[in-house]
């Protein structure tokens, strides 16, 4: 299990390859990558991601450990960036490895649902006309109830 919080970009391909090369017992590898989405108007300049150093690592580790406990997983990887990102930049990725795909898919969804509303990150959208904090969505909170 590996949890990384960093400002720098990460190489999705290299991370995926290294993760997938871990253990031949893992017949299934699922990866998810989150990308900075432009606004419908197309004028997002910067997505600024603030976080709570210390608590972020603890929260992500706890979420990853819960996934390991709940599903039969060979490995889990979580990478999440902070700082100033541009539209199209990759914000984060999760990867799960398991013997069979069901555990890998479900655990990846679980990780994403919890990362959305239980990891201390806050997004701010900066455009030429101003800056606005992204509000949490009720549906993200509701998504936790299915687990």
């Amino acid at each position: 299990m590996r949890v990384v919080v960093q400002e720098e970009a990460f190489d999705l391909g290299a991370e995926t390859n290294a993760f997938a090369a871990g253990d031949a017992a893992n017949g299934a590898i699922v990866t998810f990558a989150g990308v900075v989405r432009d606004l419908a108007s197309g004028d997002l300049d910067v997505m600024e991601i603030e976080h709570y150093p210390g608590m972020t690592e603890r929260a992500l580790t706890k979420i990853a450990q819960e996934a390991m406990d709940r599903w039969s997983l060979g490995d889990v990887l979580v990478i999440h960036r902070h700082g100033r990102l541009a539209p199209g930049d990759r914000i984060m990725m999760v990867a799960t490895a398991s013997r069979h795909r069901k555990d890998a898919f479900e655990a990846a969804e679980y990780l994403m649902d919890y990362l959305k509303s239980r990891a201390p990150f806050w997004k701010k959208e900066i455009t030429t006309s101003g800056a606005e904090w992204v509000a949490a969505k009720d549906e993200d909170e509701d998504a936790l109830t299915r687990w």
């Binding site: 709570y52 994403m112 239980r118 201390p120 806050w122 509000a135 909170e141």
Partner: protein, 81 residues
């Protein structure tokens, strides 16, 4: 104890972190104490349903005791992922 603010709470109060000497027994008591200080605190804490609190880097709630707590953080609902 250290009190930390993030995102718009930090912006509204105007600082990321401060040391607070307090006898507050619970988070709610601390919020009442801070809100009484100045308008910018009262404005930040006006709607507690829009806020979350962490005690020593674990999510908690406003009824929680502050006994033994060294770090309190206030922030809006998180938007990770």
């Amino acid at each position: 104890m250290d009190v930390l603010y993030f995102a718009w709470v930090r912006e509204r109060i105007g600082l990321p972190k401060e040391k607070v000497e307090t006898e507050a027994a619970t988070v709610s008591d601390l919020v009442a104490e801070l809100s009484a200080r100045e308008d910018r605190y009262a404005a930040a804490f006006a709607d507690l349903s829009a806020l979350r609190v962490a005690l020593d880097q674990e999510l908690s709630d406003f009824d929680a005791s502050l006994a033994g707590v060294r770090e309190v953080a206030f922030f809006p609902p998180m938007t990770g992922g």
